[in-house]
Symmetry: C2
Subunit: 146 residues, 2 copies
DNA sequence: CTTTTTGCAAATGATTTGCATTAAC
DNA sequence: GTTAATGCAAATCATTTGCAAAAAG
């Protein structure tokens, strides 16, 4: 549903869409690959600044939105106040702790084709499917009485 | 995984937790039942004001958060900038349009037990599971070339 | 050269907080 | 009476926008 892009493929994809290949975009893409998990815009910026100074947060936001359109990242489907980008582009699922707000990957074999088929039959163009579990993670359960 | 609460049950649940039964809470709960779908805090307030004047947005936010803890509503798991509360408390799924940001219910038979089991085995206390499809809805696909 | 992208500063908009007042119990 | 809940105004914080300067093609 979306394979991971190499730096060269990214450059090609950009050029193909009449977009420019900038150091910022390359570095952000590289950092995303190194993270290989979940990151907010700030967290991306933090790592990017070590490689390329003076990159601004608006650029990070714009680039993440761009990469999402190109299929290089996905916004995680989870309740929460800040956008979490997922750098894993293979199908997998998420666990969301409603106490600490943490998001963790969950790999489990689930057959989602009934949902995808139902959506597509209704005229929706599905591009991504994921399962989200909401609850309380182990550490929050330990700290809290509830 | 969470049944719909009657007004009496809500009052009991509140008292049981040492919380107070206020007209605002009762009205908001009633409005949620009438909506029976998705709503943002503003949308809840809009309907509440018709029944009880001078209710404030902070109260709506606080009450929705409270009801979430009580299991009477759920924040929809979907990428997006504003919190969408789901007043349907029976298991069902969602379709999220990445163009218009719309969220629509999706009913489809999906066996999520492998995911729930995997999460619980890892020490996570799962309370809610849902499938989220991301893509482009029919109207946005019609308007846009992509 | 032309047009996109960037960086910065300022704006926006949802959600939260502080605090005095009101209402449950 | 005590203590929690409310309303209001102000604060917070992620995300976006406007625009001039820099850089890609």
């Amino acid at each position: 549903m979306a394979g991971r892009l190499s730096s060269d493929d990214l450059a090609d994809a950009l050029r193909l869409n009449g977009l420019r290949v900038t150091p910022q975009r390359l570095v952000i893409h590289r950092v995303l690959g190194e993270i290989g998990g979940h990151a907010t815009a700030d967290q991306v910026l933090e790592r990017v600044e070590a490689l390329l100074p003076n990159v601004s947060l608006p650029t990070v936001y714009a680039t993440l939105a761009l990469f999402e359109r190109l299929g290089a990242v996905h916004r995680v489907s989870a309740p929460g106040d800040r956008a979490v980008y997922d750098t894993r582009t293979d199908p997998h699922h998420h666990v969301y702790c409603r106490v600490c707000g943490g998001v963790v990957d969950l790999d489990a074999p689930v057959d989602l084709s009934p949902a995808v088929d139902a959506a597509n039959e209704s005229g929706f163009g599905a591009e991504w499917v994921e399962v989200t579990l909401t609850g309380v993670c182990r550490s929050c359960a330990g700290a809290d009485a509830n």
